[in-house]
Subunit: 252 residues, 2 copies
């Protein structure tokens, strides 16, 4: 009873906006920013990068487009979406972020955030002051390299989304979305066949460039094809190979 992980959300005063944080003792250190850091490097990061934590309830925004950029954020628990909004008021979800993923990179260029980041379930993030982080990453080479890899991955991911939005049918888009989600969840130790979706059909549709109705119909179609079972937000993938083929065979 006295060897419980005090880092666990259940043992933290959740109403406080922030508290002391240490990458070295975080259960996410193998999939988050400090991947590959040696013990001394980790300690160095702990001493220098005194990031606080911030707790957000479902629907709360971590930051909004137009706000001043000071920090990047690592998701610790929970789930987020990021959206751009056009002048005409149209909204496009540009991504969903889960534990260990970085948010706020969009703000580095202009020193203002360019998207909204909104919690789609009760969540907690590590706050990383960017100026300090940049300084630290000059000293800790591995950290710098990891940061560059993360930004690069985000660019690669966006290219995949462009391909999806530019040239795939609804079924293919949804299949690609689900496979990507399962893949990321699996890397975090969750089931690779069953998910409870944190996002609404509306949000999925916005991400995939489809309407709610089309998303719903497409779920039904994939179910009818025997690839998965749907019940509201509970998804059971029954034929991952078939789903993957749907994505791969996308035209020719």
């Amino acid at each position: 009873m006295n060897i419980v992980n005090l880092q666990h959300p259940a043992f933290r005063p959740l109403h406080l906006p922030s508290c002391q944080v240490a990458c070295s003792s975080c259960n996410l250190r193998e999939i988050c920013l400090p991947v590959g850091l040696t013990r001394p490097e980790l300690d160095h990061v702990d001493r220098r990068l005194v990031a606080g934590r911030r707790k957000l309830a479902l629907g709360e925004s971590l930051y909004r487009a137009g706000e001043r950029f000071d920090n990047v954020y690592a998701v610790w628990t929970g789930f987020f979406k990021t959206c751009v909004t056009s002048k005409g008021g149209r909204e496009q979800v540009t991504g969903f972020q889960m534990a260990g993923e970085l948010m706020g990179l969009d703000g580095i260029a202009s020193r203002r955030h360019e998207v909204d980041a909104i919690a789609i379930e009760d969540s907690q993030v590590c706050v990383i002051p960017f100026v300090e982080f940049e300084a630290l990453s000059s000293e800790v080479v591995t950290l710098q390299q990891q940061f560059h890899r993360i930004m690069s991955s985000e660019i690669v991911r966006s290219h995949g989304v462009m391909l999806l939005l530019g040239s795939m049918y609804a079924e293919e888009r949804l299949a690609a979305f689900l496979l990507n989600l399962m893949h990321r969840l699996r890397a975090r130790g969750f089931s690779q066949s069953s998910v409870y979706l944190r996002m609404s059909r509306e949000e999925i549709g916005s991400y995939l460039g489809l309407t709610v109705e089309t998303v719903s119909r497409t779920f039904s179609k994939l179910q009818a094809a025997g690839l998965l079972f749907v019940r509201k937000r509970q998804i059971q993938i029954t034929d991952p190979v078939g789903l993957q083929q749907l994505v791969d065979d996308a035209v020719a």
Copy 2:
């Protein structure tokens, strides 16, 4: 006659794959990687980042998806496109790059290139060995910051493309594309109303998630609406404000 700019393509032995290069004397230093560097910093970069140059003919590839990643590249002259190809063989243009813009950032994460980069006119690029660049950027803070800004900009740009692909009509997409192009050309001292497009309708269509025919029809429609004149690849923007409105008013 003896104060000509010897950096100019016309005065260089174009058949050589590379030659000595100096950021400090490059006419692009104010829009390329070394933006904001002080004179001593520039000199430092010149000494350490002995990038060669590489010349490519129209249609040649700078790198291909799957190839090993060693360098990033700065466009010096010419024009490039980058494309992802799905397993099914579908191709999506993910961007067009012009003088001063960086290519190859997609390879940092996996150490393999994830897209094809292809010259869409005779071009020259500066070759920047990435390992050395990363080391140098630890020393020259301004360079590191500028690099982060560039990667961030690329992420922001891709979000804009997602918005475009996910929720805009053909007219709006083409208008947004043209305005973006004109904006970047203007920053390089070119006319803000007239362009000769380096890319085919096919390539524009791939970038915008449209077919050749729709791109062609949409050009005609914009011309009929009095927003521009088209003659093959020669474009004359006659009503930039109207074009901008088309983009801004995109739904509500």
